[in-house]
């Protein structure tokens, strides 16, 4: 089977809140010194899910990333995890887009590649939109199952387990289809040193807007439908009252009394 995985390189998702700064002119994150970008967590889970399926039924995993500023050891992580190919989509015209323009580029790339199953994260760890997978599904006219957990190939369908508010659903979707990976996929594998080295030697393929037959007015800033007016940090009014007591037990009792005062208990 042919698996396509869309991955996004994002600013380090583990920047502590205290060091999280914003470049208010560009409306982007100003990462602290020494922090490195990362593959978005859910996209890594999508890679993991694709690799498990490939190991199960055979086939090829191709990773696709729209990425004008790739940090090579970051964007090659899916290769080091075991993916077969990497394609980078790069063009100045892609700059400043939104979820819709990103999906247009990814859908155009998917049309150039044969696939049975596309996987991507349920949302990217930077803008937390959760739109791109659904947009690509609509653009390609294929079904989608979002926020999936455990996956299994069942003949000409993919079988998806998804947690619901009071249990779980089993959903089946016929190939070709799109799946977005949620927490229930589990934990992504750590690449081995030898595989990191091997991935380092692999050259990604690079496609631009023209290769993809994209109208420049439909991508990047020119094609975006939404605009971020302002990126800002919320002011947290710290009005906590710390309970001081001679012993932990006394502190516990006082805390309980506070709840009575609040009429919570």
């Amino acid at each position: 089977m042919k698996f396509l995985v869309f991955v996004k390189q994002i600013p380090d998702p583990d920047i502590p809140p205290a060091q999280f700064r914003i470049d208010t002119e560009k409306n982007t994150v100003a990462p602290p010194q020494g922090s490195s970008p990362a593959v978005s967590t859910y996209d890594e889970l999508a890679v993991e899910a694709a690799l498990r399926l490939r190991d199960d039924v055979g086939g090829e995993v191709t990773v696709v990333s729209l990425n004008n500023n790739p940090v090579m050891n970051v964007i090659k992580k899916p290769l080091a995890m075991g993916s077969d190919n990497l394609i980078l989509l790069q063009d100045d015209a892609f700059e400043g887009g939104d979820a819709m323009t990103t999906a247009r580029v990814l859908a155009a790339a998917a049309k150039k590649i044969e696939f049975d199953l596309i996987l991507c994260g349920r949302q990217a760890g930077d803008w937390d939109n959760g739109q791109v997978g659904s947009y690509v599904a609509e653009m390609l006219g294929v079904p989608i199952v979002i926020n999936s957990g455990k996956l299994e190939v069942n003949g000409d369908k993919i079988r998806v387990e998804r947690t619901t508010k009071d249990g779980r659903d089993i959903i089946e979707s016929p190939f070709p289809t799109i799946i977005t990976a949620g927490d229930e996929i589990g934990v992504a594998r750590y690449p081995k040193l030898r595989d990191i080295m091997a991935a380092g030697r692999k050259q990604p393929e690079v496609w631009n807007a023209q290769d993809l037959g994209l109208d420049p007015s439909k991508v990047g800033d020119a094609g975006a439908l939404t605009k971020v007016n302002r990126l800002y940090l919320e002011e947290k009014s710290s009005q906590v009252e710390m309970i001081e007591a001679d012993t932990p037990a006394e502190a516990g009792e006082q805390l309980a009394m506070k709840l009575r005062d609040l009429k919570v208990i």
Binding site: W127, L225, E253
Partner: protein, 331 residues
């Protein structure tokens, strides 16, 4: 010409779901600022009778698509029916909940209409001059907020985070017109299909409905210790929620996880035990009325979100707390 605000309400267990009240609350505010109508649409099976319950909650008009084939959410069928309603209503703004339905349906519709969509918003406001929509939403795992302009195509679309909006006080004197729309579905369009649905019985109070939620993090340390939180929750008639870290350690079930990509709760009291207060997690509990925290690290970010805090090992503090609570609730 486009006019008004359209919300897609939801039913749960045969009754109008809580999210609908929230949507009507925010929808009413948006419609009033545009000086236009608020329409509520419902899609489902056997819901026509109860859909008029949206009027006291703020709707001017109600659209219903009631069909046996729509009993369960089905991606392609719901998208087709919702698109049909949307074209009939022709609104300036469309709002849904960031629910299982909204997460799937909203982007599908936005793509079909090629319009701007903002997901999982905390605040929405309409621009009377352009009839546009401005959305404020958490980004970067809740570490920052973005103000998003949903653009010039109408309708503009948004989903709102569950429990982030206030419902109106019901006004039983309100009424209006119910419009029934024929589903007219071709069954062959349904592709991704729920073939089995497993209900897991919840002991005690359901997390989403609990008035008191005790949250445990990685700091709880073991499955045995997790039992202590459950015992305390039992005494307080509450439920236990968790962080990603606690789930990763296997202390608790994944369906107890609270956060930006998991469950959102808005209890009267959220009591964080051994939780540092990562943005990802706090996004799921931010609308709690009161937050209190026990943590051994005085610098833990959780205290910035809390009304009361105790610095110390939870193992030393909780037994006396629990005994006092027991005494107070049995008075």
């Amino acid at each position: 010409m486009a006019s008004g605000v359209l919300i897609f309400g939801e039913f749960a267990d045969g009754a109008i779901a809580g999210v609908t009240g929230e949507l009507l609350g925010v929808g009413r505010k948006l419609a009033d600022s545009l000086g236009e109508e608020l329409t509520a649409a419902f899609i489902g099976d056997g819901i026509a009778q109860d859909a008029s319950g949206a009027f006291p909650m703020g709707a001017d008009k109600v659209y219903v698509v009631d069909d046996p084939s729509l009993r369960l959410y089905q991606s392609e069928s719901y998208a087709d029916v919702a698109e049909k309603v949307l074209k009939q209503v022709d609104p300036n703004i469309v709002v849904m909940g960031t629910s299982t339905m909204g997460r799937d349906l909203a982007p599908k519709l936005a793509c079909r209409l090629e319009t701007g969509l903002a997901m999982d918003c905390l605040e929405l406001s309409a621009v009377p001059e352009t009839k546009g929509l401005i959305a404020n939403r958490p980004v970067f795992g809740g570490k920052a907020m973005a103000e998003v302009d949903c653009g010039s195509v109408r309708p503009s679309m948004a989903t709102v985070r569950l429990k982030s909006q206030e419902a109106l006080d019901p006004d039983s004197s309100r009424s209006g017109e119910v419009v029934k729309v024929d589903a007219g579905l071709d069954p062959s369009i349904a592709k991704s299909i729920i073939v089995d649905s497993v209900q897991v019985e919840v002991e005690g109070v359901r997390l989403e409905d609990a008035r008191i939620v005790i949250g445990g993090g990685r700091g709880i340390g073991s499955i045995e210790n997790w039992g202590k939180l459950e015992e305390l929750a039992g005494i307080m008639s509450g439920a236990v929620g968790s962080t990603r870290g606690a789930c990763d350690e296997g202390y608790c079930e994944l369906d107890t996880q609270l956060g930006i990509t998991s469950k959102t709760v808005a209890p009267e009291l959220y009591m964080a035990v051994g939780i540092s207060g990562a943005s990802q997690h706090m996004s799921g509990v931010a609308f709690s009325k009161f937050i209190i925290a026990i943590n051994k690290d005085a610098e833990a970010p959780i205290f910035r979100h809390s009304l009361y805090g105790v610095v110390g090992r939870w193992e030393d503090i909780l037994p006396a707390f629990q005994a006092k609570v027991q005494e107070l609730v049995s008075e």
